[in-house]
Symmetry: C2
Subunit: 156 residues, 2 copies
Amino acid sequence: MGKEIERKFLLNHAEWEKVEKPAGKHFRQGYITTDPAKTIRVRATENTGWLTIKGMSVGATRLEYEYEIPLTDAIELLDNFSESELEKTRYEIEFCDKLWEVDVFRGQNQGLIVAEIELSSETEQFELPLWVAEEVTHDKRYYNSNLTVHPFQDWK
Amino acid sequence: MGKEIERKFLLNHAEWEKVEKPAGKHFRQGYITTDPAKTIRVRATENTGWLTIKGMSVGATRLEYEYEIPLTDAIELLDNFSESELEKTRYEIEFCDKLWEVDVFRGQNQGLIVAEIELSSETEQFELPLWVAEEVTHDKRYYNSNLTVHPFQDWK
């Protein structure tokens, strides 16, 4: 499957409020390991599950292998194997021919909204929507695996 | 997916030599984690790959979730993520309506042959072929995840 190149941004919440949004998808996700060299993530959405293995980030690039699994398996894996979990609602927004995934976090991460864009190379150019603010691609605090352990509401 | 109930035996090598065997399948397998509470195994055979998550054993029973993945993914996962690896050839032998999986280990585990039988309950009765010897279901040394780290040829 191979490599994922992704950049991550905080949001201008006032501008984001004005955006007309499609229905969001609820994600429950947890980590079987949060080791950054081999993160193993389980995600349960409304109707399917995903098992994902990610490697160490080098710049904005990371090895990623993702497999669709039955939802019942995903829930059992979360219940039996996950070290830590988070919940969020994802909105998919098209802007200038690129897909943005905007994650509105819940629970202990309530108040945090993060937008991600997947690129085909580290140097690919793209347009920024008005609701996009500061880039946090390289800030490890925003790794979802870290947000399960050190949630946003505990930050100073 | 759920539970795997499995019993494991050593072999009488002299009797095993006499058995007419089908073609064996070569397995390369490694572990992303060898934590016995959540073992994550990647297996590459001649033409497909498997990703398997196993929980802690309780008696002969263990939670197990197994997914077929592309062979190229399995090889990349082994190359990039596995902590430790082993190689073996597996023979599938039918005996009295039950399937036995006989693993002939290679490399640092050369000399070890182990037979496994999957059961539908811990108390299920079954016939033992002549080539089956001592049971080692509960001997952790024979866990494949342990054989990658403490191979048979290093045992005293």
